[in-house]
Amino acid sequence: MRGGAYARTSELPLTLDLSPQVGRGGVFVAHFPASESIRLSIALLIEQLLNGLQLGVMLFLMAAGLTLIFGVMGLINLAHGSLYMVGAFACAAVAAATGSFWIGLVASLIAAAAAGAIVEVTVIRRLYDRDHLDQVLATFALILMFSEGTRWLFGSFPLYLDIPPLLQGAVPLPGGGQYQLYRLAIIGVGIVVAIGLYLLISRTRLGMRIRAGESDREMIAALGVDIRTLYTVVFALGAALAGLAGAMVGALQSVQVGMGEPALILAFVVIVIGGIGSIKGALFGAILVGVVDTMGRFLLPKALALAMPAAEAGPIGAALASMLIYIVMALILAFRPSGLFAAQS
């Protein structure tokens, strides 16, 4: 399994931008006044924080759909990671065919939403009144089918997706250093989606129905709302968000079969921390997980290096850092068993 796909995303700039500091750290200290090296590490810190935020935003797009689907339909959907993969593949394939990332992005939304709607109508619909075990198993089977089907269509080699020209380049950071414009754009998209979802759910008729469906599905069906269509719409909306996340991440890492599951599992951690069914919890949990994971990978090896030889501190720090979010999750659940913002009793 390609376990470290997300880890690699967040490590990418680390290896790019950290290497001068690690490799020539002594040189910096020797040739520049102390303030220079401190300023550099503050820039690095800001950069890592932004990376954490960017990871958090991606996780929010995944987790929002998962938590919405669970909150409204009571369904645990393991195949959500497959929809993320569908989005990435659709974007990469269409972008390669048309030469435009933006058309690819639109295609990813359409493809993921369509795949979500089809799966909902054919399979998921039959699972709403089953227990969670059946849901886990059926959506596990869907993952196998999606993964193998994608390999069938696109072959085993990864696809690559370029960052669109408009968003190439870097932005200067306060305190020196630069930051990839594309990653900033992802953070921006995440903020827009979060606001959009908030408005959709709290201000529109559809949102009112979704909230009503969460609290009492029989009643809103009795009031004449077509609950089946509502469920399909919610599922397709969640799928589209996952597809959007996949397409945007596709330009940062390779697009390949199996990319969805690490993201799915992190999204599970997010919604467990935030409280299943709560979009606010998903936002908070996603940013917490994104920042803790990224900063842990950045800071833990350095912190350990103060206490032990650097050769040992690196691997131990990395091993601990990869476990950090799960430790955070366990701690949170030990004190609040239904998450920080539990929506339902």
Binding site: I76, V123, P337
Partner: protein, 329 residues
């Protein structure tokens, strides 16, 4: 439930399955086809792991999506002990490595029990979907630790150069090794049967069906569930040690979430909460895998399709089809 007639249809089918699993490799041995013995060993080991999970999932209703953690831990116990014995270097705290299977199984049981205790204690504070996800997350935590910890192979895994030893048997031969796995599987099935019939099993069933009433009669569901979870982890750990010996290799893939998913699949394919459910499931799963793998490169797609159909249309699994509905929910 223990007062059922002695020879029910399910009992007969169970006996037939047990004989079939034993007869298949014996026939393969007679025909000089050692590959099929390995296939049967794989069935026995996967079934053993799933019998372990069935204690938590089938009897206790605890849908652990993280049992690969214990499977992999058992595997790593076998791999690490064998490596230290092979290189004749002592481990932490002055323990010696060993290549003796019984010692390895004991170590796997102890390690899995010690790790299942805190994992269970935290996870069991939650229920339902939270429990599924938190067990998954703990397994992922151990998975990532194994991937990024370089001492025992990290992502590349760890090879066991010579299969570990069992007194009086030549484990390098496929058939004796199969018999070891088969006997352990029968022992685990006996454990499951005894647990189900015991007062503890009754309390566990009650904790699944109605925890409030169980606490009202003065039994804490939490403790009962925790004990079941730990026992379940220990059995799966032994299966992991055998799996490592079967492949002479341990890698983080034994800890992966797909593995956890596979165990659940085995139980559901065979029939949840039934004594021989995991055995029937493992037989069916490995045979489907083998048969489909022979026909098409895309066997995973069709495996998914079959699983989906089983969940949607054949509730109760293989034993449900063969032996009728389970006697209780």
């Amino acid at each position: 439930m223990t007062n059922a007639p002695f020879m029910t249809r399910e009992t007969i089918i169970n006996a037939l399955l047990a004989l079939l699993l034993l007869g298949f490799p014996l026939a393969a041995q007679a025909m000089g086809e050692p590959f099929y013995i390995t296939l049967a060993t794989r069935i026995a080991v996967l079934a053993l792991a799933a019998v372990g999970l069935n204690i938590a999932l089938g009897l206790g209703g605890l849908v652990s999506f993280g049992h690969a953690a214990f499977f992999g831990l058992g595997g790593y116990v076998a791999g690490i002990l064998a490596t230290h014995a092979f290189n004749a270097e002592p481990m932490l705290f002055g323990f010696e490595g060993t290549t003796s299977m019984p010692a390895i199984w004991l170590a796997a049981i102890v390690v899995c029990g010690l790790i299942a205790l805190p994992i269970g204690a935290i996870s069991l504070r939650t229920a339902g979907v939270y429990f599924i996800m938190i067990t998954l997350a703990f397994a992922q935590m151990i998975y990532y630790f194994a991937v990024s910890w370089p001492a025992y192979g990290g992502e590349d895994g760890l090879s066991i150069y010579v299969r570990n030893e069992f007194p009086g048997l030549n484990t390098a031969q496929p058939l004796p090794f199969f018999l070891i796995c088969y006997v352990l599987l029968l022992a685990a099935l006996a454990l499951f049967w005894m647990l189900r019939g015991s007062r503890f099993g009754a309390a566990l069933e009650a904790a699944r069906q109605n925890p409030v009433r169980l606490s009202a009669v003065g039994i804490a569901p939490f403790t009962i569930r925790l004990v079941a979870f730990v026992i379940s982890a220990m059995v799966t750990g032994v299966a992991g040690a055998l799996f490592a010996d079967l492949n002479k290799f341990v890698s983080p893939s034994m800890l992966s979430w797909q593995m956890s998913g596979e165990f659940i699949v085995l139980i559901i394919l065979g029939g949840k909460g039934r004594l021989f459910g995991p055995v029937a499931g493992a037989m069916l799963y490995v045979l489907i895998e083998y048969a489909l793998g022979g026909i098409t490169e895309r066997w995973q797609f069709f495996l998914g399709l079959i699983l989906l159909c089983v969940v949607l249309f054949a509730r109760g699994g293989l034993l449900g089809l063969l032996a009728g509905k389970a006697r209780h929910g």
